[in-house]
Point group: C2
Chain length 162, copies 2
């Protein structure tokens, strides 16, 4: 598995995957967007082991992606809602869904839409002027949080011939 | 782990995660966008075990996300490039990066930009009229590829009192 501390990964993609990179985690977040909020609903929807679900929910609450709300005192029952930080994962979910609709599913199993007017929603890469990006046009370059290049840590085999 | 065939998951998010849901896989794709193309470059960049890297590269080639190109005959050496299908994962990467820049990294370690004019690139949820979506406005509803609701497969405990 990936090291948890990512010492070699000064990268917001790697850091985000450290929070949501477990597949169950993204499916739990999807379930909350679908309207599920209770432990038993997630259990039914995902077919996940309950100890694994407990662990993932606790982690998402600790990370501030979900909040846990008491809705019944006796017996004590909680429901889970997305925080603002959690709602901001929407583009990740829709980007995954859009790719799957295009490349893996025959017909879209779900439609993403805007609550207020039911307008279909899509995810787009846009440049600063708002124009859509062609897929081959994307490049990643070092930003202000980059570290200077490090020497390779991997041992290279000595050349067998000189 | 998640079942490979997702019989209960008629969902393009789950199906996409079946292809790219392993964290190494998304970091390999990130590395290709960063300009890496060779086995040793991935090994250096990721600190991944070489057998795991071989497995993930083979899988991505089999899925049509990467293509393997012979660049040297003796010894036989290959490089890896994104296919069109692979390039279309750009919005997934940038959505993950944008969330990490906002919530996990102090300063952006990398900048996403458009190759032609170096304009900064962001990912947006947009409605059909092109207007940006507020985070709480997203909803997911059944689409044409949805199955009718299935009865729960989880055994419920019989009530202890009537």
């Amino acid at each position: 598995m990936l090291k948890r501390d990512y010492e070699d990964q000064v990268c917001s993609i790697a850091r985000t995957l450290e929070v949501v990179g477990d597949r169950w985690t993204l499916l739990i977040i999807r379930d909350v967007v679908l309207g599920h909020s209770r432990f038993d609903e997630f259990l039914d929807s995902l077919g996940i082991a309950s100890n694994v679900l407990t662990d993932r929910l606790n982690r998402l609450v600790a990370e501030g992606v979900l909040e846990r709300i008491l809705y019944n005192k006796r017996p004590e029952r909680f429901e889970y809602r997305l925080t603002k930080k959690g709602r901001e994962l929407g583009p990740v979910l829709i980007a995954l869904m859009q790719w799957g609709d295009r490349h893996v599913s025959d017909k879209p199993p779900r439609i993403a839409r805007r609550r207020s007017d039911q307008s279909p929603v899509s995810v787009r890469l846009v440049a600063k002027d708002g124009s859509a990006l062609a897929p081959g046009e994307l490049e990643l370059v070092p930003g202000p949080g980059a570290r200077p290049p490090q020497p390779s840590k991997r041992k290279r085999a000595a050349p067998t011939r000189s």
